[in-house]
Amino acid sequence: DAGITQSPRHKVTETGTPVTLRCHQTENHRYMYWYRQDPGHGLRLIHYSYGVKDTDKGEVSDGYSVSRSKTEDFLLTLESATSSQTSVYFCAISGSKNYGEKLFFGSGTQLSVL
């Protein structure tokens, strides 16, 4: 168990509202990631972090921002949610002494933007 939790597990929101998803890890993994999963598109990387306050864009970063102020927390923010951002969002972690480069996923957040 790599000790990763996502919150909330489900969220319904309206177009134009801000949304923040949280990822929390307990085993001091260096790297943290946000992916989205959509039918027909598989898993696509939104943003990732390689350390506190060190983040970079993935392949589908438009409309999303991230922050990592502590090793254990990685936040994904949709500044103004759109219907195209309805998806399942997964946080993932890697880069620890115990597990090396193995990637571990959280349980996911089902986000619906109406």
Binding site: G42, L43, E101
Partner: protein, 108 residues
């Protein structure tokens, strides 16, 4: 970016059967991992295998990095093996790219 192709896209098995899933990638990689997504959506890491062969119970995986492919073997399949199997590769910068997956259905 690096291309990851998985085959077959769908696989239906009778319980007890063996199967092989394939992952081809378009460039040299530093990192290759296999994942299983169960019917409830949970993603489980099966193998970290940038090269060589590993076994974990009824599952085994082989990566031939020089020929740019990896194989996942499922032996004596069980209904609990159903789900989607993903291959993911990393070329640089710790960013894994995922294939589209193979959907496996094991029938009792």
């Amino acid at each position: 970016g690096i291309q990851v192709e998985q085959s077959p896209p769908d696989l239906i098995l009778q319980e007890g059967a063996n199967s092989t899933l394939r992952c081809n990638f378009s460039d040299s990689v530093n990192n290759l991992q296999w994942f299983h997504q169960n019917p409830w959506g949970q993603l489980i890491n099966l193998f970290y295998i940038p090269s060589g062969t590993k076994q974990n119970g009824r599952l085994s995986a082989t990566t031939v990095a020089t020929e740019r492919y990896s194989l996942l073997y499922i032996s004596s399949s069980q209904t609990t093996d159903s789900g989607v199997y993903f291959c993911a590769v990393e070329r640089e910068d710790y960013k894994l790219s995922f294939g589209a997956g193979t959907t496996v259905t094991v029938r009792a």
